[in-house]
Symmetry: C2
Subunit: 602 residues, 2 copies
């Protein structure tokens, strides 16, 4: 095989595995003297040897001497714990602003060897082609990066136009790709509960293919809508936040994915179902959902989530099961990965402590790929086509006047709808403000914290711009910030106190193929460069994290004191969460799922 | 649908399930006020309602009023426990001497709603065609009867000629049949550990098809052979008898199936791994392997096994998990059956007590099929072809002289190898006895408990007979017993004190298309009629059990006091268990896996 990380199916290596286990052929690697963290039996077994061949465990037991030949690498593990490589049950690579190769590079030293990835963001920009690019880069990684086919693009049909749409035909096609493990989170839970045939067809395609249907029931309502959603077939859900959410799902055969992401803290409340109520833990799974580069660099990945679960009072072995065998079983891969057992992929984390989980060495498919935080391999990348690296198409250079809101003829003030950002929350408020008119244009008002807001079509080069107003950022002075990360349609969203700076920021992102650009007084003061679909970078996580930190500092320097100003910015077009959002079709009243006007009619 | 028990896939019923759960359409059935035995969470939830549509659960929760319409049947369950229908993880229908339809009929009133069936015996008689017949009758049952493709026919290649052979090509073909869930128990564990390419190919075919590979490692040796077998891929094993057997398997990711059959008692020792050692129970599964009709009629089926596990100290909820969700998960069917949860097949046992498990009502796919032990439906049967009902072909009527063993010229006595039956054990002893010669024929000797033994080719009408001697039955007087149930090649095996009676018994079975016939002093004193492949009857279990009891009484009347004389008889040709057996090729020295002569050479 050209790629030493390429792994053959168990049956294609069975002859070799049997021969090694029987002592007729030498293993490629033997880890001697480990404490075998056995997630199958939930035991710790000291003094064990693990013999590996063809990237898989061939023998796991008390003495692998018979598997050792001249060609065998023997590693004395001196009593370290051997833990199965960690699995992330649900996550979006794009949240790290990194390509799959760079994401893998960032998380491998933290012990992650398996990820179940939903490329929902790129699907909104590039459609099936974008999913295929993520898939193709994912399957060549030295660790296991499985892809779920996104189910919902657009997220808000009829209220927005993303760069591309995913159809049931796309879903059916993707189910035949080698690295597709299921359907990505089915977010349109209202549509599913209403029996929308297109959504049920997408779910059905995944079920017919024998693959796992990801759920996303983002509501605290556990009434009929919840039960109807369950009956449609989603097999897991990561949107629970309360103990009762986890319990209600697990009782009904839907696995509870508990997330600790950069901005998600849903493990502590839900894990009480296991630690306090004694519910069978087999159906609980840990995941991250969304991790920023900074979190990956500073805090870790699944090792952070497992540690957190342990700190919440969970037995370490059970917490590890929740990020290894439980995940593997959920995706029908229990015989392929998620435990240290014969035939499984030889993905191992060596650690000296089961509570703190220091990740000393990481093996994937029997090859050491990280040592004390240092990555020992290059994560391979595909050649991304220009269509993916030149995705920001605004049609023409923009000018300040493109962001001008024309007032009704003769008006001196207008009553305008203003999106009100709420600190630490994803929902917004639908505010109404009386705004001044000058030279026929409605004016923002920094003194009352009302900024200009614009959504610039960046997918079709139409030159179309939708203007509005937003409050809550606290921006002061002449500034603007533009971003091509703008969930879920990922157009370009621009916020500013000044139209000149807005045009400068927007034009800069068009030149640099996307990302985030912050301007003050006619000068760019920070930029995060994300030229891959306008969402991701192929530079190392450290560099992206540094740029993101500088961006946050620049935002603060412009007077904003929100905890997660960029996240709030990037959600201004998320037309599925109430109350008021902006889209390429206008302002969206998400409470009523309809378009609404900028001006309040008397 | 013509067959009211036919069940569509979840996705084909999703619209209806969602509508019922949401309260837009009525359920077909609502079970009100149950104690929901929740094997997903391992809880008992009182005061719950279960709404069913399209044969599946649509809603499971505290109040199903919204699912009830004019057409809904509502059953007030008055606080009874609702338990998922019981699953048998590994079993042979032929052991009950019943066709699949008759077997289902016998076990449904005991609460069994799912069986994983390995038609290994018929495969040895009729090959792939026989497996297909079992498969075709299994898939039309009102309960779930899944078939595993037998992996090993002949069981002892090179040492016997069964009626048909199973090849890797057969296995590959069967993997495409709708009711095939995996490969049947891979019994040739020595061959697997030796890396036999044909056996590995069969395992690979099942793995490529995404199906489960059944194991059968029938040895107490947990050394290299065991580890080599594990590395080849069998996913379960029911041959463990000791606690260490179960633990060794589970630690290495092979599920431990613990059996309580008519003659297997392997739960009590192995379940200590869970009850005393605290090992995670998720990988333990209960099964029967082999149940005689009498056991089914008198003692029950999986209800008996679960009760036994509880009596061994297992928590009732965990014991029930071992016969429901654990089994379903093992076969990749957790989203299809094995729990009471939305979307799953509505297979329910109603019981008043979780320890004694009285089976009050049984529902399958939402239809009540048994009530207090009474079956409410007919189990459908296929039209079995004549080839399957006329399978006993001995070529010509036999005479006493066909069972004559010619002595070496001039000998007055000979030293002969004699198969020595051992009470309550499957292995035999390789005895050597000095036997008299009269008229040039070697004589049996009832006074020393040495009987005549013959294997009559009943598959190819060749007229071939292999003669020998057997000790240990204690038969007296002029008698003979013949059986076409003769594991694993299922030729006809005849034992007797008298050659005339042997010929009579053999000829009778040829006339009646197989079964067991007992003769004394020229009269038939008992017969079990098994015309389906010479192995099974399509009469009710009660009738077959009665005939079997009369057969046992007849055997006793002939002077035999063994506990399981018929089982010992039926294993005389089992050329895979030491020490000495008979086959159509001669005497088999199973210790050395080679043919041997009847006479000991000096």
């Amino acid at each position: 095989m050209d790629n030493k990380f390429e792994i053959r199916a168990w049956q294609a290596s069975a002859r070799e595995l049997v021969a090694v286990a029987a002592g007729r052929e030498p293993a490629s690697l033997v880890l001697r003297g480990v404490k075998w963290v056995n997630v199958q039996s939930r035991e710790i077994l000291p003094g064990q040897d693990l013999a590996i061949a063809a990237g898989r465990f061939a023998y796991c037991g008390s003495d692998a001497s018979h598997c050792i030949g001249e060609s065998t690498e023997v590693v004395d593990c001196d009593g370290l714990y051997a833990v199965p490589g960690f699995c992330d049950g649900h996550m979006h690579v794009e949240s790290g602003m990194l390509t799959p190769a760079r994401f893998a590079e960032a998380v491998i030293p933290h012990g992650t060897t398996t990820m179940f990835v939903d490329p929902h963001e790129i699907a909104n920009v590039l459609g099936l082609h974008g999913v295929r690019l993520m898939h193709d880069e994912a399957i060549i990684q030295p660790v296991n990066m499985f892809v779920q086919m996104p189910s919902c693009a657009p997220s808000a049909p009829g209220l927005e136009t993303p760069g591309a749409e995913i159809t049931p035909v796309d879903v059916e096609e993707a189910m035949r790709w080698p690295g597709i493990v299921g359907l990505g989170e089915m977010m349109n839970f209202d549509g599913v509960a209403a029996g929308n045939p297109q959504l049920l067809a997408e779910i059905g395609s995944a079920q017919i293919a024998g693959k796992t249907v990801g759920g996303h029931y983002a509501s605290p309502d556990l009434g009929l809508s919840f039960h109807a959603y369950l009956a449609a077939g989603p097999a897991d859900d990561h949107e629970g936040t309360r103990e009762i959410d986890a319990i209600s799902r697990v009782r009904r055969g839907m696995r509870a994915m508990m997330r600790l992401g950069s901005a998600w803290y849903d493990v502590e409340s839900q894990i009480k179902a296991v630690t306090e109520r004694g519910i069978d833990p087999r159906n609980f799974i840990l995941c991250t959902d969304d991790c920023h580069s900074g979190t990956l660099v500073d805090d870790g990945h699944m090792n952070r989530v497992i540690k957190h679960a342990i700190n919440c009072g969970c037995d370490p072995l059970i917490a590890i099961q929740m990020a290894t065998i439980n995940t593997a079983t959920h995706f029908g891969m229990e015989r392929e990965l998620g435990s240290i057992a014969p035939g499984r992929r030889a993905d191992v984390v060596l650690t000296s402590d089961l509570s703190e989980l220091p990740v000393l060495q990481v093996y994937a498919r029997g090859i050491k790929i990280a040592d004390r935080g240092e990555l020992l391999v290059q994560t391979p990348r595909i050649a991304w086509p220009e269509s993916a690296r030149k995705s920001v198409k605004i049609g023409r250079p923009l000018a300040a006047d493109d962001f001008r809101v024309q007032s009704p003829p003769g008006a001196k003030t207008v009553r305008a709808r203003v999106i009100g950002v709420i600190e630490n929350q994803a929902p917004t408020r639908a505010l109404v403000e009386d705004l001044e008119v000058a030279d026929g244009a409605v004016q923002g008002d920094a003194s009352r914290d009302v900024c200009y807001l614009a959504l610039v079509d960046r997918h079709r080069a139409s030159g179309k711009i939708v203007n509005g107003f937003v409050g809550g950022f606290g921006y002061q002075g002449e500034m603007a910030i533009a971003s091509t990360v703008a969930h879920d349609s990922h157009h370009m969203v621009v916020v500013g106190t000044d139209r000149e700076n807005m045009a400068l920021a927007a034009n800069r992102l068009a030149e640099t193929d996307g990302g985030v650009s912050v301007w003050r007084s006619g000068r760019e003061i920070a930029q995060v460069r994300l030229p891959y679909a306008g969402l991701m970078s192929d530079r190392p996580a450290e560099q992206v994290a540094t740029e993101a930190k500088m961006m946050n500092a620049a935002i603060s320097a412009c007077g904003c004191s929100l905890n997660n100003a960029f996240m709030q910015h990037s959600l201004l077009a998320l037309a599925v969460i109430p109350e008021l959002r902006i889209s390429d079709m206008g302002l969206v009243d998400v409470t009523h799922f309809e378009l609404t006007g900028l001006f309040v009619e008397d």
